[in-house]
């Protein structure tokens, strides 16, 4: 008896480590149930597709893997085998898999490009926060903010029109040119985000030297399934709550339906020492998708709606340079009121409707045609503090309508070659509502675009890939704008553009500026796997970007910066050459990724101080858009270390410098050096539990342009000169975050998850160089968030 026990104990030391991969695209498959052909022990794969079966007493058995989206998979296993067994899950139509794998090389996106991914688990942690908060986690991505909620991604120091956002296969057109316009995308309606650095995704445009963010949808497989999730959470800072639900219904014949809804609401957030008054936020989003996927053809229709109301810090609304100076020297915001959920002016409202239609068809074995159409209507209103009858009326009310059409063909002339070609048509109509009673910041315009592109990828084997692509675009900007006669003359437009004048009024003229831009972009890259451990990538791309409407036409006062911003009609296309490398070293325990990058940009368009303007509120600094030549260089480092199977370490560094190459003057708003490290622990006995601790360090930005100026004030009866310091970046800071997750596995891949997380745990007081309201207030203090998720 005793001997027998010992014998069994020895035998029961066997362990099976496995990873479940989705054959569709080689991505890890989460939530698959793994059973052995005897006993009733079940284990589930984690977000990396990994699972472990421990204390096995036999060495020869069959395992069964089930997943709601896939056909059940059975496989015989013999132990001891490899360190890690890989299992591929098959979808219902076996033939689909082969083609899908081919398609991965056929997306028109150069594969030899460094990229970073945020998966659904990363995104769910930010379910109740902003999109930019989630993006901030990716190496090489930073965030340019205007307050706490209005935030946009910065890739390698570039943002706005220099970064494309592609949602479900189409470019997002939501007035992305504005530094204070946040993307109108529901974070909860995205399955994963791929960050591609550099302009290699020619299918989506050749005008974004910064990079492309791909917001990807879940893949729909032809299977009878009903699955989805509900996430609900609360936040301490801002006393907010969030709720999101999504349901997908699939049928074995390939038809599917999906719906997603999200609500977020919070009041004024709190800095460590005071309330940040009027920083409340409300967001509402909804989408409905219907489609049919079969081997030979498929279609999809999606409608999505997004609506947000964002309060702007009350203390940042100022009248003139004197008010700005008083705010700058005050250590706390000039207006602090008790906490409230009410959002008053100044505030921003944005609403986005989108209809996407998609159709694909396969012809011969290896040719596929895709047609996509997207209608987007984006409306933005900004409310200032106004007087009299205009109280409560928006000061800016712009409606941008964009029609996009893309026809894309992918085929394989030989087994090692794959090619794509396509055309893109675009029409954009901007309408600035005159009922605001305020001069339009951006004029009414039409813009038309026609683009065509082609790419070839050569992949003789799994060790080597080379690709090359080219794109040609024609764009026309046809605007109608009122200029004050004196401004028209002062800027010399009367001499250069007399033919633009349509009508002359008392003090103003109506003009019709019309410009054509022809731009050429190309990209080429190679990827070589020298061994299982080492992969090298090089990517060179040339991109050209026509000036955006803000750069051409801006005309107005910026209330939070007390500057007058002027566009410039004489701007030419910006032309950038960027060289990127990706070095990846991987062994059993360590993954190291280095991405050095260099970009030389001709006609880089930026705002620069250009004098003072005397107004009824005193003199204001004027900033105008001008073109300079600039160099960007930097390095992203990302490494992961599996210290023990239970303990993982992850560290990211980003460093970038950018300067004008004529005089070495640093560019403004370039992210300072950051280092993010986190360590996670999953107890061996209780894998459902996971702890994570993060430390985020942001350095002081020492490379910044000096745009300070002096102004004379009358103080206590004496005229005195004061320096207006809008340049000096804030001090460096370190923030501590922690989170704990607990997962209760239920039947059939369903589970319940509790996620408790805290950010800025030490309630550190700091200011962020990349926040345009940093002159007025400290950043948010500690926030504790509790999310409950039910996956079914």
């Amino acid at each position: 008896m005793c001997l027998c026990y010992v014998g069994q104990a020895q035998d029961c030391n066997q362990e099976l480590r496995g990873q479940i991969i989705d054959l569709h695209d080689n991505s890890p498959l989460e939530g698959a149930a793994v059973r052995i052909d005897f006993g009733d022990a079940v284990t589930y794969s984690d977000s990396k597709g990994l699972f472990v079966l421990e204390s096995l007493c036999v060495t020869n058995f069959t395992i069964t893997i089930t997943h709601p989206n896939c056909k059940t998979h059975e496989k015989a296993v013999r132990l001891p085998g490899p360190e890690l067994h890989t299992f591929y899950m098959e979808h219902h139509i076996t033939a689909l898999n082969e083609v899908v794998l081919e398609e991965q090389r056929n997306t028109g996106l150069a594969k030899a490009t460094p990229e970073v991914q945020l998966d659904s688990e990363d995104l769910e942690s930010y379910s109740g926060l902003t999109l930019a908060d989630a993006l901030d986690q990716a190496a090489g991505v930073s965030v340019l903010r205007t307050g706490n909620v209005i935030a946009k991604p910065v890739i390698h120091g570039m943002f706005g029109s220099r970064v494309a956002m592609v949602n479900n296969g189409m470019r997002v057109r939501d007035q992305e040119w504005g530094a204070d316009h946040a993307p109108t995308i529901d974070l909860n309606d995205v399955a994963a985000i791929d960050v591609v650095k550099g302009a290699s995704a020619l299918r989506y445009g050749g005008d974004t030297p910064g990079g492309v963010l791909f917001f990807k949808q879940e893949r729909y497989v032809p299977a009878d399934t009903l699955h989805g999730k509900v996430i609900s959470g609360i936040n301490t800072n801002g006393r907010g709550g969030n709720l999101t639900a999504q349901v997908t219904k699939g049928f074995s014949k390939g038809t599917y339906f999906k719906t997603v809804g999200t609500l977020k609401h919070r009041g004024d957030v709190q800095a460590p020492d005071y309330v940040l008054s009027n920083t409340g936020w409300r967001e509402m989003a909804f989408s409905l998708t219907a489609g049919r996927n079969t081997y030979t053809k498929g279609w999809e229709a999606k409608y999505s709606f997004f609506d947000t109301t964002i309060g702007i810090l009350r203390g940042a609304h100022i009248g003139n340079v004197g008010d700005l100076y008083r705010a700058l020297i005050s250590p706390i915001p000039l207006r602090i009121a008790p906490f409230t959920y009410t959002i008053s002016p100044p505030k921003q409202q944005a609403e986005n409707h989108s209809i996407q239609l998609f159709y694909f068809k396969r012809f011969a074995e290896k040719t596929k045609l895709e047609l996509r159409y997207n209608l987007q209507r984006n409306q933005r209103e900004e409310f200032d503090i106004r007087r009299g009858e205009n109280r409560g009326k928006a000061s800016i009310d712009m409606q941008l309508t964009t029609h996009d059409f893309n026809a894309h063909l992918a085929w394989k002339p030989q087994s090692a070659l794959s090619s794509t070609a396509g055309i893109q048509l675009q029409l954009q109509d901007n309408f600035s509502n005159p009922k605001t009673g305020v001069k339009r910041l951006i004029p009414d315009y039409f813009s038309y675009g026609i683009g065509s592109y082609g790419s070839v990828t050569y992949r003789p084997n799994n060790l080597f890939t080379a690709d090359i692509g080219m794109r040609l675009d024609w764009n026309q900007m046809d605007a109608r704008k009122y200029y004050y006669k004196r401004d028209w003359v002062a800027r010399g437009y009367d001499l250069v553009y007399p033919n633009f004048i349509r009508r002359t009024l008392n003090t103003e003229i109506l003009t019709r500026p019309k410009f054509d831009f022809l731009t050429l972009s190309f990209t080429t890259g190679i990827q070589a796997n020298f061994s299982e451990a080492l992969t090298l990538q090089f990517n060179l791309n040339h991109s050209e970007r026509p000036p955006n409407p803000a750069e051409l036409f801006s005309d107005g006062l910026h209330h939070s910066l007390a500057t007058i911003e002027y566009g410039n009609l004489s701007l030419d296309s910006e032309s950038s050459n960027k060289l990127l490398a990706g070095i990846t070293y991987q062994n059993k325990r360590v993954t190291l990724n280095l991405t050095p990058h260099f970009a030389r940009i001709k006609n880089f368009i930026q705002l620069q101080p250009s004098g003072l303007k005397q107004t009824v509120r005193g003199a204001f600094p004027v900033w105008s858009y001008i073109a300079i030549n600039a160099d960007f260089f930097g390095l992203d480092v990302d490494w992961k270390w599996t210290i023990t199977p239970q303990i993982n370490f992850h560290q990211q560094h980003s460093w970038i410098a950018a300067q004008q190459n004529a005089n070495g003057t640093p560019l403004i708003n370039i992210p300072p050096y950051t280092a993010v490290q986190n360590i996670s622990y999953q107890p061996k006995r209780l894998k459902a539990l996971e702890f994570k601790l993060s430390v985020r360090y942001t350095a002081t930005q020492y490379n910044y342009p000096n745009n300070n100026f002096t102004k004379t004030f009358l103080e206590d009866g004496i005229y005195i000169d004061r320096l207006i310091d809008l340049s000096t970046p804030p001090e460096d800071y370190t923030l501590f975050d922690a989170e704990v997750k607990f997962k209760w596995l239920l039947k059939e891949g369903k589970y319940l998850q509790l996620h408790l997380s805290g950010s800025n745990l030490l309630d550190t007081t700091y200011r962020n160089y990349l926040n345009r309201l940093r002159f007025y207030a400290d950043e948010m203090g500690r926030n504790v968030q509790l999310n409950l998720k039910y996956q079914f």
């Binding site: 009248g319 009299g388 029409l427 005159p434 009673g437 339009r440 109506l510 005397q614 005193g618 009866g717």
Partner: protein, 182 residues
């Protein structure tokens, strides 16, 4: 097979082109007359028993020049106008009067000035009975010339304070006055 896929392409192109042609017939954008602008500030200065003198600042001017006589009491009224359309000059002072609670006119003089500014019993007061500075009494003594500031302040924090920084609020008007007392 080809037939089938060309059809939707064709439809979509036609659809897109329809939008192009439809939208192109848009009219010229409506001209916006900005009602909130203040482009003219006028001081109406009346010596006790004398006739009224006006001094005006128009947008683009550096200073508002004011000439006064020594040893005189003046009633000074300030008016704000939107004169951006010369054929339709709007008096913004009306709105300020109606929203007395949210506004304050403040004169800031150098310490060297001997001229005294006091509130006037003819002034408009807000709901707390604080005069808002649209009408003030100026008392000159010796001959002098000095610079001063005229402010119109929106949503001031403290209306009874006597420096621009302690009044707080947002600045709607800030003009340099060049005052000469003969």
């Amino acid at each position: 097979m080809m037939k089938f896929s060309i059809y939707p392409t064709f439809c979509l192109i036609i659809l897109s082109l329809t939008f192009v042609f439809q939208s192109c017939q848009k009219d010229d954008p409506e001209h916006i007359h900005e009602h909130e602008l203040i482009t003219r500030v006028t001081l109406e200065v009346t010596p006790s028993g004398g006739s009224t003198n006006s001094f005006t600042w128009n947008e683009g001017d550096n200073n508002l020049n004011v000439n006064l006589n020594s040893d005189t009491n003046y009633e000074v009224k300030v008016f704000f106008y939107n004169a951006s359309d010369p054929s339709d000059i709007e008096n913004i002072t009306e709105e300020i009067r109606e929203e007395a609670d949210e506004h304050l006119v403040f004169y800031d003089f150098t310490t060297s000035a001997n001229l005294q500014v006091n509130s006037s019993s003819n002034d408009i007061t807000d709901s707390n009975q604080i005069p808002i500075g649209l009408t003030t009494t100026w008392t000159t003594s010796t001959s002098e010339s000095f610079n001063a500031k005229l402010y119109l302040i929106h949503m001031p924090d403290n209306k009874t304070a006597n420096s621009r920084s302690s009044i707080g609020g947002g600045t709607d008007v800030e003009i340099d006055l060049a005052i000469t007392v003969n």
